[in-house]
Symmetry: D2
Subunit: 394 residues, 4 copies
Amino acid sequence: MNDLVHRTRRFVRDVVLPSEPRPGGYLSDAERGRLQEAAKEHGVFAPHVPKEYGGAGLTIADWSPVFQEAGYSPIGPAALNCMAPDEGNMYLLENVATDAQKERFLRPLAEGRVRSCFAMTEPHPGAGSDPDALTTTATRVDGGWRIDGTKRFISGAEGAAFAIVMARTDDTGATMLLVDTANPGFRVGGQVHAIDRAIAGGHPYVHFDGCVVADDAVLGAVGEGFRYAQVRLGPARLTHCMRWLGLARRALDIALDRVEHRRIFGSAMKDLGLAQDLVARSVIDIETSDAIITKTANALATDPRAGSALSSVAKVHCSEAVFAVIDRAMQLCGGDGLSDALPLASFMNEVRPFRVYDGSTETHKWAIARRASRARAKAVASGTERRQDEVVEP
Amino acid sequence: MNDLVHRTRRFVRDVVLPSEPRPGGYLSDAERGRLQEAAKEHGVFAPHVPKEYGGAGLTIADWSPVFQEAGYSPIGPAALNCMAPDEGNMYLLENVATDAQKERFLRPLAEGRVRSCFAMTEPHPGAGSDPDALTTTATRVDGGWRIDGTKRFISGAEGAAFAIVMARTDDTGATMLLVDTANPGFRVGGQVHAIDRAIAGGHPYVHFDGCVVADDAVLGAVGEGFRYAQVRLGPARLTHCMRWLGLARRALDIALDRVEHRRIFGSAMKDLGLAQDLVARSVIDIETSDAIITKTANALATDPRAGSALSSVAKVHCSEAVFAVIDRAMQLCGGDGLSDALPLASFMNEVRPFRVYDGSTETHKWAIARRASRARAKAVASGTERRQDEVVEP
Amino acid sequence: MNDLVHRTRRFVRDVVLPSEPRPGGYLSDAERGRLQEAAKEHGVFAPHVPKEYGGAGLTIADWSPVFQEAGYSPIGPAALNCMAPDEGNMYLLENVATDAQKERFLRPLAEGRVRSCFAMTEPHPGAGSDPDALTTTATRVDGGWRIDGTKRFISGAEGAAFAIVMARTDDTGATMLLVDTANPGFRVGGQVHAIDRAIAGGHPYVHFDGCVVADDAVLGAVGEGFRYAQVRLGPARLTHCMRWLGLARRALDIALDRVEHRRIFGSAMKDLGLAQDLVARSVIDIETSDAIITKTANALATDPRAGSALSSVAKVHCSEAVFAVIDRAMQLCGGDGLSDALPLASFMNEVRPFRVYDGSTETHKWAIARRASRARAKAVASGTERRQDEVVEP
Amino acid sequence: MNDLVHRTRRFVRDVVLPSEPRPGGYLSDAERGRLQEAAKEHGVFAPHVPKEYGGAGLTIADWSPVFQEAGYSPIGPAALNCMAPDEGNMYLLENVATDAQKERFLRPLAEGRVRSCFAMTEPHPGAGSDPDALTTTATRVDGGWRIDGTKRFISGAEGAAFAIVMARTDDTGATMLLVDTANPGFRVGGQVHAIDRAIAGGHPYVHFDGCVVADDAVLGAVGEGFRYAQVRLGPARLTHCMRWLGLARRALDIALDRVEHRRIFGSAMKDLGLAQDLVARSVIDIETSDAIITKTANALATDPRAGSALSSVAKVHCSEAVFAVIDRAMQLCGGDGLSDALPLASFMNEVRPFRVYDGSTETHKWAIARRASRARAKAVASGTERRQDEVVEP
């Protein structure tokens, strides 16, 4: 595995970095294809994909160092075909899809021949971070299902070959369905212009108007949609952390180069304590992020339920940390950090949404607190732990 | 004065807001002209300008509420002709220029007929935040001066009618000169694409190649350039705080509207404590910013030297506070806060540079700490205060 | 007024500081009496008390600089007789009591002859920060009232001459009553050992068991207790901010002396950026605290309702700021800051409770957010403001 | 190993917690002895000590969960004989001492029969956090060494059987020596009253006045003192993190019990978002601390130099996190959190020094930044990495 980390590092630094678009620009499909071919030649393509589908077959506990190397460039994950949302979709398909579905959807996706999207979020008052508010429906029709509803912020939808769609199939349950984007009932709507640019296909609205699919479009079992969403979301949150942590390392490197060579008020910037404070806090953010990712990946590999809970902690810590590291790098680089003279300002716009996507910091904090309260109350109720808050008049 | 505050508020909300460009867009010169005419009709134009030059004649202690109202829109200050860098240039000209210079440069600027720029910052290793590193020179020639050098990040230079240029005039001193941009020795160079868009004319490089000006181009006295820079910078820092604080109020209003109407997890967002935490911290940031601006403005009005020192404190506090308020508003508005569905993401890009421009947070902290140490050491040395850090073995 | 500030400064530095007890110690009643006599001689006693009761007669807008000077020593406010809870009780009596009550209770209190307490907080599930949970009752009896209930954390109760008691007088209202502590129905209970030591009389439980008082014990009107609590609490919160801000200035002075004289790693500490960062953040905390206190005091003087709302903002900002300043001073003074070699560790224990007393930071944030939401919703509903959060599909 | 963790947990909760002194109190030597006997009976004594000296023989990579369980009580580490400074001294002796020294010093220490101290820190201008300033000397005399100098903040010195002393042995080097406290040249001086109470023997001054020791008092090699200090300090820093993290878990449990049972403003506190925010941030602090400890312990086990560098990161993160967790628990518990009704206020006083001891947060940040700058500069100089901060005029 260490060899793959090293090769990925060299590939990203030697091949990918020189191919980056100007700050604020997009990676073209053609360039993406060219980079993916190069990644295959360098033996670093699709590290997370099972070998039978053309990948390196790493398990989740070994992803972090490779994904961090990929994320050192905003386009690195696309070059390695481990970018969001496709990487999470591959994981979900691998774990839930039938063999036939895997051949039809997973294989071309894993090989980089198509892109995909994950259609869950809805316009208000539908489901944003709150899955209970799901309004898109899948209704039983002869030989299949008819999907109706509107989704929003569907990353990668423009140009995707298929969508994994979350729809309500009865009063209490939800089901995931695989929908070919060529289906006449599927339509990409207005494009939401978000401040991040690295995801091919943007974040548009998607409309399902009497979109009929066959029975074999159901992913896994009917009514299990929310459970599968958890299967996908825990790891997907964590791979975001891994990739963005790589970008934080990049930002710190740029800042370290700057403080090495820039003089101000008669001193090298690297010797000024106020610069050292920014550097040190960024190192601490990076190391603790790396450590909590490792802990969470190990948990996901051995106890997915505990790992998924811990992924909330990792997501909050890493998303805030990564943003802070880039923000500090901008401070250290002055005017250049605020313009496209350096890529830092565009990095900030890339990572800012991560504090909101996949559950905002505040939503995760709410979930973390509730889990902590419940676990403690349960331990006290069971007698394993003794209540410690009682006081009496002295 | 309260009446002017109220009229400005109504003008900005009723006339300026509907004229705002789409997020990420620029205010055209034509639209700017139209809005300035409207501002004159509403009696809210140029609040900071002496009445003899067409303004409302407010003194600095009364600027804050008006400038905050102007800043409620990113284009509000341009509509009122109190935007950077022109507002700071007007202040400098008013305080230092000769009557002839005022007629030639201040009057058309104050009336909104031309724009200007302030050419101080230089490419590395010249003067960024560190004035001692000034490399642009003004050399005595027959009947005037020849200016040579390169400046960078000269906000508003593209399209400006004149520049106030800081140049080294001998080994230890610097001088300010007024340069018509039509001067053949003046050239606007490459445009630095910074993440803020509200300043007309961008932040380009500016080149002076044998740029000859007459004796009457000297602003104030030869060798007094750094002192005048301080005259300008204290108030200019503070008016930035005032304007951006208005934008922070806008961001909070947008977020308050969102939490009022949005429901999540079965509750109105406004009733969720994690949203309340973000709102409360923003209110505290806004109120403390307003208070420190008032304190600093009063100091600048009565003791410019103390006021200038305090303006470092105000600048650090307000720039960090304003950024945080907008950042929290983005969190509260979810995906809409990250895209051009709402203006918040563009606000973030507008205000982010304020933590660097006019002396970064870190540079000001360094200055603040040094001043505190010196003042304390002086008080102890004089016997007014007694040293309190000495310890002995018990 | 400035003269009084100056005299208070000299009195505190020259007379009070040399009389401070060792860190962790208490001010004895005898020493307190001696210092109050000295304060009278220096003409700095009771700055906030009307002249007819022996004070300097300053109005609230002028208290801050004097109270800050007093607070430069933890025992300074006691020396000047402007310490909590007595100072707040004096304010309440002055504003609500009858002339007879003023003679009987305010005059000896203002002259420093007795101490008092304010009996509002109750043990759980009674009223802590939440006034609706009040369980102590005052029941009508012939010619007066009978008070029953238990209070807790009643600062200064041990040794107080009288208590202002909040009791429920019917289903929805509460009433304040003046109770002589010699009343046989009044009993001081167990002493709560809190980490702060400066308040004479500690924070004990207080029991009312069939405590009968005459009709003239009612302070103000029956049923107006909660309203009077607000009358007292707004200013009382703010005077806490003033006094503790003085102590923060003291802590910073000690730290400045230390960084001036201590060398580490070959440099004077004052030249090390990581120390400068701590100093600068403390200066910013102090200046912004001073500014928000001024703003709030002016509001209380002109619009008590707005001032009381703003006092929540001031309380949160100042209590957190003061704690942070002292905490940073401890970091700068190393081992000496952690022991009684310097008074900083005892200062930390004195101010830590301020983030909880008089409504915790979190309780005030909740109140601040609710007020902001209501004010905005009202402005939108009235048409003065337009809702700004609506989005549509592009 | 998991079994030992579980047994330690039960021992600490069932045996140690009921034996805790009142908040602010000390653990008596007798009680400490009794608890150590109980720990031996429960098979949880000295988990970090090699089996040949009576311990469980765990290696450093396995210490964290056990030490965290021990640290759940402030006296837990003393009960298990893994408290500071003895635990670090045992580690140092195990790694550097001769067999004879181990028998004489390590064995009785490991068995809990004696206590020890580590005499490095000196009064100003000697060595605090800065080893270069060492002024205590060890001079060659016939058959041994004569030690002269004064140390300060020597934790555990009162009542210790021996001291490990750092002394300058020539112009550039330092040497460690083992000194019996019965040596007539050794004298415990004034006791520094620090805010932490858990360390038996306090933090006194220690004086060496012509303290002569034999040649076999030298620990390891002459001149290697600073290197051995690093051998000790990396792990010692990390075991502090482990122990205090256990106390942070305790504080969070107390707070969770409180928010479970307390109602305020009509809601259970656990359902109030502002309480949830405090709980969630504490969970995040605890989980990330646990993760960075694991990462650092693994590094220390495989690459002590890298582990030692990373221990600076762990120390800063954990010391700040642990303090913050306890501070938040105090907020959640209101008045009870500020008094000895609950142990939280005493916990705060116990952990506060950890942000200063063993190198302050600021000192470690300085070291972290310097290491990051050097590593990056070296990589760029070697050609492995390319410099990324250069900009040109567009």
